[in-house]
Subunit: 134 residues, 2 copies
DNA sequence: GTTGACTTTGACATTGACGTCAAGGTCTAG
DNA sequence: CTAGACCTTGACGTCAATGTCAAAGTCAAC
């Protein structure tokens, strides 16, 4: 498939797909015309890239770990020890990020809940659902 | 205290503290000389800002929610309905972020574990701890 | 009052993952 | 073979929080 179809299938802009290639995350074949040609497995690859990017990994590290996730469920070992350490570091960073997010989530929940309590008292239109007077 | 001390106490650069003020997150008094003067509660405020920034909120929204977190544990209701909706949206976004992070965390764990299994078999020097042959 | 650390404003630089525009070549249905 | 949708590279713009540098004023200790 061409880049436009991959964009639709993966939900990622063509600009991003070209950027991923530039960063070495994708290696599409090329037609004589220069057109990029992708195959079905690239859809999954792009999805993995998105997950890792969303998790805060940079493209350098993603480029290294992608080969370890060849197929669905197939996991390979890191290709070198240095990378293994990077992965552990990154995983640790993620754990902290999750904690931070949960802390922030709790903050917002407190405020939102305070607001809902007010709204429930005044307008009685808020779908408070679960959660009494925490 | 002056900006340098707040920077030390909060672990945030003076550059950032000035930026936070510019964004309306801090409102230090000013001496006749122009020097910013902060008080102890600002240390906690800066910490809250860091948590929310780390969670992906932008300074615009943080500026709005900060007044809802006056003291330690004191939570006030949102100051307007529109903001309440923004908070819910943001909280939802956070939930998704947490899920993404957990997914990525699982990915890395799989790879790391595959590597540790190899290392344990070859060199038997990895402190594998818990986890046999999942 | 002098020194040296600290502060002020202002402005430009950086980072990373993109958006966007331009000028041109390619594909394919009809 | 032509229209029009799609693709190419290249370059510059963006956003958000910070780094960094410069020139100048301030504080506090001695």
């Amino acid at each position: 498939m061409f880049i436009g179809e991959l964009a639709k299938r993966s939900g990622v802009s063509t600009r991003s797909l070209r950027y991923y290639e530039q960063q070495g995350l994708l290696r599409p074949r090329r037609r004589a015309s220069g057109y990029r040609e992708y195959d079905d497995s690239d859809v999954a690859t792009v999805r993995r890239v998105r997950v890792l990017l969303a998790a805060g990994l940079n493209t350098d590290l993603i480029r290294e770990v992608l080969p370890c996730m060849a197929d669905e469920g197939t996991i390979l070992a890191p290709t070198c020890d240095e990378m293994a350490q990077d992965l552990r570091d990154e995983r640790e960073r993620m754990s902290r990020s999750i904690e931070q997010l949960q802390a922030a989530h709790a903050m917002l929940s407190s405020i939102i809940h305070a607001g809902e309590a007010l709204t429930a008292g005044a307008g009685a239109r808020a779908g408070a659902g679960a959660g009494g007077k925490a």
